[in-house]
Symmetry: C2
Subunit: 658 residues, 2 copies
Amino acid sequence: MGINSNRVEHFSGHTCPENIVTVSTEAMSPLELHRVCLPPPQTTLQKLKHRLSEIFFPDDPLHRFKNQTCFRKLVLGLQFFFPIFQWGPNYSFKLLRSDIIAGLTIASLAIPQGISYAKLANLPPIIGLYSSFVPPLIYSVLGSSRHLAVGPVSIASLVMGTMINEAVSYTEEPILYLQMAFTATFFAGLFHASLGLLRLGFVIDFLSKATLVGFMAGAAVIVSLQQLKGLLGIVHFTTKMQIVPVLASVFSHKDEWSWKTIVMGLSFLVFLLTTRKISMRNPKLFWVSAAAPLTSVILSTLVVSLLRSKAHGISIIGQLPKGLNPPSSNMLYFHGPYLAVAIKTGIVTGILSLTEGIAVGRTFASLKNYQVDGNKEMMAIGLMNMAGSCSSCYVTTGSFSRSAVNYNAGAQTVVSNVILASAVLVTLLFLMPLFYYTPNVILAAIIITAVIGLIDYQAAFQLWKVDKLDFLACLCSFFGVLFISVPLGLAIAVGVSVFKILLHVTRPNTGVLGNIPGTQIYQNLNRYREALRIPKFLILAVESPIYFANSTYLQERILRWVREEEERIAANNESTMKCIILDMTAVTAIDTSGIDTICELRRILEKRSLQLVLANPVGNVMEKLHQSNILESFGLNGLYLTVGEAVADISSQWKAHP
Amino acid sequence: MGINSNRVEHFSGHTCPENIVTVSTEAMSPLELHRVCLPPPQTTLQKLKHRLSEIFFPDDPLHRFKNQTCFRKLVLGLQFFFPIFQWGPNYSFKLLRSDIIAGLTIASLAIPQGISYAKLANLPPIIGLYSSFVPPLIYSVLGSSRHLAVGPVSIASLVMGTMINEAVSYTEEPILYLQMAFTATFFAGLFHASLGLLRLGFVIDFLSKATLVGFMAGAAVIVSLQQLKGLLGIVHFTTKMQIVPVLASVFSHKDEWSWKTIVMGLSFLVFLLTTRKISMRNPKLFWVSAAAPLTSVILSTLVVSLLRSKAHGISIIGQLPKGLNPPSSNMLYFHGPYLAVAIKTGIVTGILSLTEGIAVGRTFASLKNYQVDGNKEMMAIGLMNMAGSCSSCYVTTGSFSRSAVNYNAGAQTVVSNVILASAVLVTLLFLMPLFYYTPNVILAAIIITAVIGLIDYQAAFQLWKVDKLDFLACLCSFFGVLFISVPLGLAIAVGVSVFKILLHVTRPNTGVLGNIPGTQIYQNLNRYREALRIPKFLILAVESPIYFANSTYLQERILRWVREEEERIAANNESTMKCIILDMTAVTAIDTSGIDTICELRRILEKRSLQLVLANPVGNVMEKLHQSNILESFGLNGLYLTVGEAVADISSQWKAHP
């Protein structure tokens, strides 16, 4: 406990000196000084253990296992790894009925979306259906969210399509392209599972809400514009993703525009957007928008097959193979020149799909007041994708739109995913020939309707209102995605978000505190008009850790406060300043450069006959000060528990020894 | 002021309810509630202006110009840009005498060091002398430090040599190599000057002390090992910088070792190290180590020239051209394949030389209690290097070792730099032939002696003692420099330092507070044994801004605190918890994700019939909460100025409406 143990001074009675005119005396209760404590001593190992457990196990995942019998521990362990054991025993017919209704509802949405999103990733449409079959089954065993509807999602499909396409052309080398897609899916799953296993789930927290709002809007704009290919019936289209080549492609191929396609596309787009509007206005009518895609597919297929002799300009899906997912583990690609691209694609789509899956899971969990363990969820999504990559599936995760429909349709457990998979199974086995005449334009309309909801201009406006730098991060990711590329746009936005944290650390707030008369409360003079300066004292609050990145700034800034205070005193003919109190309450950490700064400040101020005193250093700052031996130089009268005690004690000392 | 204006409640009298057993009643003075204020309203433009002035002008560099006459402003402006006008008028013969002594002392050190460091950068020795002539003259006009001794320095020389050599071999293309060196110097100067002009000087603050300690030690080890080439007389030596190829080079060329060179090198190395030891033991004998290099050069040159018939194995400097710096602006290289290398080298050496120059300037300024303006200093160093690149000089800055000698020798102003330049002038004009027989081995010994002081194992030990993560950053930069490369080693160390900041933000401390009996002070229960819990309340302190990067963590962590408190209460049969107070004093900022977290927490806790209350949100947090309209959901009883007032008010409400 070092020098602090000899610091148990008590002085009672009315200690408020007369010269502190601004502290009204009736408010001062009998005062005793409280010493500043060090935190309880810990060895380096204990500290490391505590730190690591806060980093990796902040939610204390094993707390349920404490004080339990062996058998109970086994049951809890099974429930921990396979949540099915948790809800399985209590599963009832009533729950099953709800789940069947919800499952069939999402199936009607998932089948057309699956085909559409596979096209978005430049993959054969059948892959989209495969991906809606195996992953939901695996998730239903491992997943802990009750409302997540699993399958391909728009953003991940889009990003995968773009990134692979930069290396391999899907028209020229379709087999290699497919190999790359499965390999990227495998690495995405590996990435998810390792994050979960290593409990590094917090890396996805670095995609802030601002970044995501901008990113999603940018991606939605790009995807919508790319769908003009299908909507206008253009045959030759760019494979690039940036807004400039896409728009150039649209207008340089005006001769390929097909009026039949355009009429059909626009009418179904209007239909889909109208149903979307209806469901948004009245959430009880969620089934209107949920059923619309399947209705559109059926209607448009009927129209095309009936008018097939007259509908030559309209491109159709064509033959789809019947049957279940073929194994694809032999198509994984672990060597050769494109491995790096596959890994990079896997990681980027992995991050994006994980972010969506976890966010969706958390949202619905909090609506129904249950907990979703992020790291466990990551392992479930990861294993699902690794298994998917061996059974002809591409990246899947919890989709926001389908999970919302699932929730609204009254899903109670993950059994709704099993029902979804069963519906897809029936489709794969028996209904594939029915899609022969489905026009591609309807897939474009479905995609546009799905992604348009990603443009959240209200959230962007809220960002502008509350935090201009967050809005800047949002703009960066929006324009980065539009004009540069998806990974770079994301990287820039993450950079801006991290820069914002660093900026706050590099240029922290400092302010002069004053006493609120009649209390022991010291608050910012600038904010609290009733707060009053205390003559001879300058009380400064530092609102940030003191680190290498701000130690020079803080030293200069504090000296500037002192200079300005001296100028003010000189201008107003007040009594000269004698003591500077640093309120360290918000200095939540300090490093070696920060400690040097404190020493240096003390030395500089001492040369000017000014006393420097610290008030309320927090635990780990106190510890560092102690370890670096600078507490000794502060000695008895340099550390106080509160600003109020510092003012009272130092004033009384001046009174005793003027 | 929104909803806060209707929050001017006063209730006097003894409000402390009986059920708060741990708050001793005699300590509670008559209590009135204080409302939480918003900071004074500011427009976005005002905020931006304030923010920018804090970022770029934290030292308020123009404060001296305020309230001055026009003429006075002109004089101050001249003094601002040319500090010579500040000290010039008061310059006296007495000061001149001190400066002459100091100038001659550093000249005796600078001449051999200049030649040696030029060899370190693989440049002709004469370039080192050129670089000790023009830059000091320019600095003496522009620089604001009185003790900085300007010239080539070891680290920057080493890095420049390595980085250019990776692209251009100095033995095969000496002219191109020289062009690259001057071009890199130009870009280093441009980089310095732009940082100064744009007031971005704080970027060098990101090289923390820990990083620099490790980096310097690593560089010193590498440089010393590289000098084995000269010390052992090896002819064929690697041009790489990593420790492995250097050591391989030393031992694979054993046949080239020359015993004469080794004997001479070792004896002078012992001599130089002994003088260094003497000066370190007794700072008054600084001249012993300051004069030693020149003495060694003279002695060794004499020995070699006298024994020239027998000293065949010893390599010598040879012919050096007489005369002043030739112009080299025609050698700057602004196009072609190597421009990128030159720019990269310029920026890396620029950062390193700037860091050394600014750190040295600040150190001696604080010893003599005067201020050095970092940004102005950067412009001085930048202009000096840009001018240098046009007059056959390579990168120069304030050298730590020579500035220390300058300071100890009693330098009073930058005139000592003029004296240094004059001494170099005389050397260049008349004494060059004397260096003909100077053996290269002596330069190696001088370099080793100079860089060995950069290994600061005491600082490293202090880092270990105070901050393990700082020590890790130090180790990373040490081993990064040794085994990978200088720029990458530096980048890794900066990465670790920034990661440390982010880690603190991502996993901030939280803790339960208790009341110190007899006071209104609430402190961490873990640290203050005398602090007591208040029944029915859980008071939590969050020690960090709430950002996207930690909002999920904090939400989980706070819910875990609540869960643990409930378990504790159940185990001890205490009265149930009803209210959670978040002490926001150290939450110095919040972003949109953070606001969402607070809302979410409030919603979750409300579902469990727990009240969430915020105590003492700081100005900008209050502002953001207000802008996002969530203050309304907190309403009248959700915000308090202090934890004490919150406890007293809420308890009294419970008493009134149980």
